[in-house]
């Protein structure tokens, strides 16, 4: 009994440290701005008019579309919704009315990005970014690096009140939950390959490269060159599997995180370059959650650090200590 309660307490304490270690809001704010900027570039301004009334052709609803009986509306309204989605992402990127804009981004994004998935083929590029939008919607990501924060600061000064920055677990948990979603998504990819039919035995990567060539993708010379050797594709296929299934390790080990996140990023870039799949890196924004923007200021060379003002913060803290 003592062992069980000890284990429970230990796990709870680790989870508490993992999710709620108090940090400054800067990192979450920067990541929010960068993520929405990337989402704006990737998903913004899409023409959705083509989906209007397409449910007459074929309609196999998924997720909330089936549950709430959501269907395509007329072409003009679809484009208005797409415009609103783009605008909400822009506002979330700038951090203006952040709570409202992040909620709008998720709700409209679910409808606009998920619509194509109801027509027999689900596009997997939008799924993880949508989960990230849902997480950011529940967080206090607008407390720094946002127009909202500037407004609050200006307002406080105007009223003669001081404005102080707090550290809190509020700014840590959204980043950590995104890590969990990221790791689980890649683990699912890996497990499907492992328990699927023949990725390992039949040199799946080689098949994928060739298949895209036959289906009309203009293969770069590098793909043709890689196809010369069965060894390279075989080794890379096995490595892909290990990295994808091992993705949850990034939650537990800092060294593994460096290796895994870099490898997964290179893998996705490789997919884009070699076979043109997700060449615009729709999951690219999710990698930003692994960049410690605040701490990066301390790794860069001293003159640059001084230039961005990080040295001054450090000096102040050192003298205070």
């Amino acid at each position: 009994m003592t062992l069980i309660s000890g284990l429970f307490r230990g796990t709870a304490s680790r989870l508490d440290r993992f999710l709620f270690a108090p940090v400054l809001p800067g990192r979450l704010g920067i990541v929010r701005a960068a993520f929405y900027a990337h989402a704006l570039w990737t998903f913004g301004g899409r023409d959705l008019s083509g989906w209007a009334a397409m449910d007459a052709v074929v309609w196999e609803p998924i997720g909330l579309f089936a549950l709430l009986d959501l269907r395509p509306i007329d072409a003009a309204t679809m484009n208005v919704l797409s415009g609103l989605f783009t605008a909400s992402m822009l506002l979330a990127c700038l951090g203006l009315w952040t709570r409202a804009s992040t909620i709008a981004s998720f709700v409209l994004g679910y409808y606009c990005l998920g619509m194509g998935g109801n027509f027999l083929k689900v596009a997997h590029g939008s799924q993880l970014p949508l989960i990230v939008m849902a997480i950011l919607m529940c967080s206090r990501c607008g407390d720094a690096f946002s127009l909202d924060a500037l407004w609050r600061r200006w307002h406080a000064r105007r009223q003669g009140r001081g404005f102080s920055v707090h550290v809190s677990g509020e700014y840590q948990w959204p980043i950590r939950v995104v890590w969990v979603a990221f790791a689980l998504a890649f683990m699912a990819c890996g497990l499907f390959k492992l328990f699927g039919n023949g990725w390992l035995h039949n040199d799946g990567l080689r098949y994928v490269w060739l298949m895209h060539g036959y289906r009309g993708f203009d293969m770069p010379s590098m793909t043709s060159w890689l196809l010369h050797s069965t060894m390279i594709s075989s080794v890379l296929a096995k490595l892909t599997l290990v990295i994808e299934i091992g993705a949850p390790a990034l939650l537990f080990s800092r060294r593994a995180r460096w290796f895994l996140v870099a490898s997964l990023f290179l893998m996705q870039v490789g997919n884009g370059v070699l076979i043109g799949v997700h060449a615009d890196l729709p999951w690219g924004g999710c990698y930003l959650f692994f960049v410690d923007f605040a701490a990066m200021a301390y790794i860069v060379p001293t003159p640059l650090r001084e230039a961005v003002g990080a040295g001054r913060i450090l000096a102040r803290r050192t003298s205070a200590a």
Partner: protein, 298 residues
Amino acid sequence: MESELHHSVFGAETDPTPRRNRATLSRWLFIGLLMAIVASWIGVEWIAPRVIERLYRQEGPTALNKLIKNRRNSLESHLVHWRTESRRAWFSCAATGILLWMSYLFLRGRFVRRCLARLDEARDSFRHPLNERSMTTGRKACALVVLTSVVFGSLSALVLQQELYPFSHFPLYGNIRPRPIVSTELRGLTPEGDEVPLSMSALRPLGKQHVGRLFRRLAQESRQDQQEIVAKLQALYEDSRRENLELSPLGGIRCYRLVWEVDWQSVTTSSEQQVAGPPDRRELISEVTFLPSPRIMK
């Protein structure tokens, strides 16, 4: 001030001599590796072809001339063979060298340790806050609900092997069997009945996979549904025509399944060759005829 600052942040060096020796050794190892890579590349690409050429013409030492056995093949084929094999060997050696170098760095942990130490220091400097705002129980519960939803959603999609949008089991490239490579092709039918090439983008927003699956299901639908689908496809095509004036008026569309019977595990290509030649088989999936009397034939 700067040195004090640096000292307090990054910690004091204890005995710098062994570290300096290690740094010198590591630098020379790295330079050696780079030189070996460059030298071997020059050897493989520049020197060796000239040597092969001389040996092929029997202009070298007698013992070495015997290395080239089959002189019935042309010099070009020998050189192509050499380039293929040597590049493969060179790539493997260079990759192994770089991997060994990275493992050396990693095991010694110099780079990683230094970076982690700096990150720790940086984080520590954030852990002496002037103000700390603790989270309320409600907010913590909210965070835990979000975490649980993400984990539960992802694992449910994984276990059920279903799309629970936005959660998914990501069925990407899981079914790889030794089978022919297939693709889908659209052909337009002119009012005179001739076939003309038709791009998939003519039926936007439907993509290649949407179109293939849709045409496969078309024959199974009831007659009324078929007519509705054909009318919608025609409307999509007319929309595309309005945007792209190069598209000609069509009397219908045919959808084909292209099949390449290739042994894809052994096929090789070169950058000069296009991968896909003409397909071995072209099977009609279905055909739609546009208004005034939309109908389906198979």
